[in-house]
Symmetry: C2
Subunit: 314 residues, 2 copies
Amino acid sequence: MRGTVLYAPRDIRVEERTKPTIQAPTDAIIRISAACVCGSDLWPYRGIEPIEGPTPMGHEYVGVVEEIGSDVRNIKVGDFVVGSFMASDNTCPICQAGYQSRCVHVEYVGAGGAQAEYLRVPLADGTLVATPGRPDEDLIPSLLAASDVLGTGWFGAVAAEAGSGKTVAVVGDGAVGLLAVLAARQLGAERIIAMRAKVKELTGGLGAHSVIEAAGPQESMMQAIRSTRPGGHVGYVGWAHGVELPGQELFYAEVHVLGGPAPVRRFLPELLGLIWNREIDPGRVFDLELPLDQAAEGYRAMDERRAIKSLLRP
Amino acid sequence: MRGTVLYAPRDIRVEERTKPTIQAPTDAIIRISAACVCGSDLWPYRGIEPIEGPTPMGHEYVGVVEEIGSDVRNIKVGDFVVGSFMASDNTCPICQAGYQSRCVHVEYVGAGGAQAEYLRVPLADGTLVATPGRPDEDLIPSLLAASDVLGTGWFGAVAAEAGSGKTVAVVGDGAVGLLAVLAARQLGAERIIAMRAKVKELTGGLGAHSVIEAAGPQESMMQAIRSTRPGGHVGYVGWAHGVELPGQELFYAEVHVLGGPAPVRRFLPELLGLIWNREIDPGRVFDLELPLDQAAEGYRAMDERRAIKSLLRP
């Protein structure tokens, strides 16, 4: 099969790879309908996150189930499915509490590389959610978004307790930030402030109730904390890189802080319903669509900020 | 009047000071029935927190209202009152959300020094809570505890979302930690683990639902974060001193974090009710009681760990 492999910084190739096979009875193999490039893929692409040898890339995917292991019960061959980038059993106490990205049996689905024709998904029953039927072609970008970028923006909004009557600020105007705005609106936020504005001024000196940090660097995290009112909530889903939080400032800020890898699986049933019923259209976040063989251009365009997010079709 | 003043590290004196007077129409003057020494008083006492000249000490107090300003409506002369160490108007949006320690008009009550015969309390209507009548003598230590150390342990337990069915761990075995245990029990926690135990082992590898950090140093904070299960809650009320939280570890820990100066005023009505009805007895935390004139021995005993917490009677 064809699949995307990173060899070295900015050396990304689409090449012939071994088609994945069932390795555990809880696995499924899916034929990828669409995959995409994540902001976090740019870390190794730019050489900021080192890689150990050639690395299959991609962890966001939708597709059709081609084969299942002998213990898979809920997912059937032929199902159109969306899954999280983290495999989860969806039954352990951590999953049951809604933190599937930290499942006691968690595995990184992207290890096999989703920017490819086929992908092995571990713990298929707990990880994948089937759509009610085969989706219309125009729904595929939105369903793909649910696999990570929408789920991550959504988690940011939920962690920040965005909701009715709340003023919500979003730090970061990348794909996650844009979908965090969508999420905050969907969750009923009264007012949403994009972070270029001076949040304290716009909130009578108090700060926002909810601030979603969707960028990652130190300055963004501190801006988020400083823009939140005492007792308010910061949801941070930017990949904290080299961040150190000063304990005393956090203490006196007196804000709730919750972040981490988004437990996308928690939100999938609800998000797929909203997309299926065309109540939200997160697929608009993809502003570049390419055949898989042109993955390198997809990375380059995001690296050079010519694209917000690239969708790849095998 | 007599009052406690810190002149230099370990040089604490009880001396004649000017009796406080009404300075704003929202002030009250109270005659102190009992005050005490806080763990945080030991920071300047030990010279770790510098002072600028002679500093009146103490911020925990109960007493009788002697005089009120012309705008005070809810508090009457003769009332027996308990107040937080932070004055709050109790009406601003931050107070209404339960974060009175970050009131937009917040003032530090301890500025005047509560280890004294009299104390000026700003924003008396929003800061002080009167008991239903003059308390029995044996209730005074518990009512005094509500002014800070109990309210702080309670906030830690609330911030950590200690509650029914939860496993709660407490880091720190000082007065705040002990009262956090009392709070967690009162809030219905199923199991409470004192932090000398290995929390992960005792919770099937998952970590506690709720962890209360009641100490302050870096190691305690990291121990608290590492002992909390993904999706669980850390409530930290130890005074974070020199703490730096590594962003990436916090990200992958995926725990809720909330701390800060306890909004004691939020809890006072409930706590006074529990004490008045003799449902809780937090006064047991005082293991040394001295006349005010022996305040120096109260500090020394805590500094040398001969006492957990010293109560002072003017």
